[in-house]
């Protein structure tokens, strides 16, 4: 059984140590819920897990091997939904999703199903600029279903979503986990994820500044 785990992770942003000594385990079908106040490093941890940021210390390990040894393979199994939706205003919802599906090497076969998964079928041919912010968020999330990927990294996925869409998101996550996928979610609104490991980032906060500034 392959295991995605982090050991003793340290994250430094600017001259501030955001967290230190952080560890997580993400087995197949597993979920990690990142919680903590603003600025506690939830997004940074997701970006570390994605490989967008390099950890200042510690290791990210996939199946016993460090991820840094084969970043290409790691990127192939990732699906990342960040703060920004990556939606082109002049492309339709379907075109936006289809582009990222092709880019993940999956083809367009699942685009219709992905849009349906977030109740976007009636909006498939609406240009990105005409979508509301909640609808944009759903288009961004539909990318997850359009191209299968083993690890979902979701940064505040529920921002702007209504109750019905939140339910769609929970369903999508549950189905993904049932199929052996893993999820890491940073969120402030509760998302129903049975058996998820909760990681309170405040516990790993490191208040010691790296450099001692002047008094003011």
């Amino acid at each position: 059984m392959s295991l995605f785990s982090g050991r003793d992770l340290v994250c430094v942003r600017g001259d501030r140590r955001v967290f230190a000594g952080l560890a997580f385990d993400l087995p197949p079908g597993g979920a990690v819920l990142l919680s903590g106040p603003n600025g506690s490093g939830k997004s940074s941890l997701l970006r570390l897990m994605a490989g967008l940021l390099r950890p200042a210390g510690g290791d990210l390990i996939w199946d016993g091997a460090p991820i840094a040894a084969d970043p290409e393979a790691h990127r192939a199994r990732l699906r990342y939904v960040g703060h920004l939706n990556a939606i082109k205003p002049v492309l339709t919802a379907a075109e936006n999703v289809a582009f990222w599906a092709r880019h993940a090497g999956a083809g367009e076969a699942d685009v219709g199903r992905a849009l349906a998964g977030f109740a976007l079928t009636p909006l498939a041919h609406v240009a990105g600029r005409l979508l509301s912010s909640g609808q944009r968020r759903r288009v961004a999330l539909a990318r997850l279903l359009a191209a299968p990927g083993e690890v979902w990294l979701l940064d505040e996925p529920s921002v702007g979503l209504d109750q019905a869409s939140l339910a769609h998101l929970s369903t999508a996550i549950a189905m993904h986990r049932a199929a052996g996928g893993r999820v890491a979610v940073a969120t402030h609104t509760p998302i129903d994820m049975p058996g998820a490991q909760t990681l309170a980032l405040a516990d790993f906060a490191d208040s010691v500044p790296l450099t001692v500034g002047s008094d003011w």
Binding site: A76, H83, L84, I87, V90, L91, A104
Partner: protein, 221 residues
């Protein structure tokens, strides 16, 4: 569809739906070139002598105008993060974006250049060399520009920084591009100058995507 073709197709489709950007570049090129006769006077021999230089300088400036949008939109809407995270080499994605950029700016400039050449009374015999020199030179402008555009992402007033970074690097293309046409007009062979343009293009074809990819990784960190 491959990663490369996918990005080229998307960027061309975006350019097609936002035609204004590409049209603006060509319009700038033509209008800027048309200013010179008002400044230096309408003397036909003088204009014919200036033609090659004016075409190249205004083409450089027109390309500069278009550089900012090369990565900025993707950076601002979050697409860049996803492109960086996609499997496959990032330099290939950069190359795809540069190709789309060249198809939507370089190629229209080449098409518009003969018009300016004729306005400037340039000898018609030099038109094929002008086209060939621009065909070899403008891809280098897009490639070099991509490095500048990638480096200035996230910088405050990046749009102002790009020309400072990129214009000095454009000088070799300018020199050999103009020299090729001047040589033809003087009855000499344009071949050595064209070969230099081709050499610059080949070097940039290898170096620029790697450098821009490294800069993009920094930008999304």
């Amino acid at each position: 569809m491959s990663l490369f073709a996918n990005v080229v197709a998307r960027d061309l489709r975006l350019a097609l739906r936002q035609r204004g950007d590409a049209v603006m570049v060509v319009l700038f090129f033509v209008l800027a070139a048309m200013l010179f006769p008002f400044a230096v006077g309408p003397e036909p021999n003088l204009l014919a002598r200036l033609a090659a230089g004016v075409i190249w300088v205004t083409a450089l400036l027109a390309v500069l105008l278009s550089l900012e949008r090369l990565f900025l939109a993707d950076f601002e809407d979050g697409s860049l993060e996803l492109l960086v995270l996609a499997p496959g080499p990032l330099s290939l994605t950069v190359l795809a974006k540069v190709l789309a950029h060249w198809l939507t700016t370089g190629l229209p400039l080449i098409a518009a250049a003969p018009l300016i050449a004729l306005l400037y009374n340039m000898d018609v015999s030099a038109l094929p060399v002008l086209a060939l020199a621009m065909l070899l030179g403008t891809p280098s402008l897009s490639l070099t520009g991509a490095v500048g555009a990638a480096l200035t992402l996230g910088a405050r007033r990046g749009g102002v920084l790009v020309p400072l970074l990129v214009l000095p690097l454009y000088i070799p293309v300018l020199i050999f591009g103009v020299a090729a046409i001047d040589a033809t007009l003087a009855g000499l062979s344009a071949r050595p100058h064209l070969l230099f343009l081709a050499a610059i293009f080949l070097v940039m074809l290898v170096v620029a995507p790697l450098a821009a990819a490294a800069a993009l990784r920094q930008a999304v960190e």
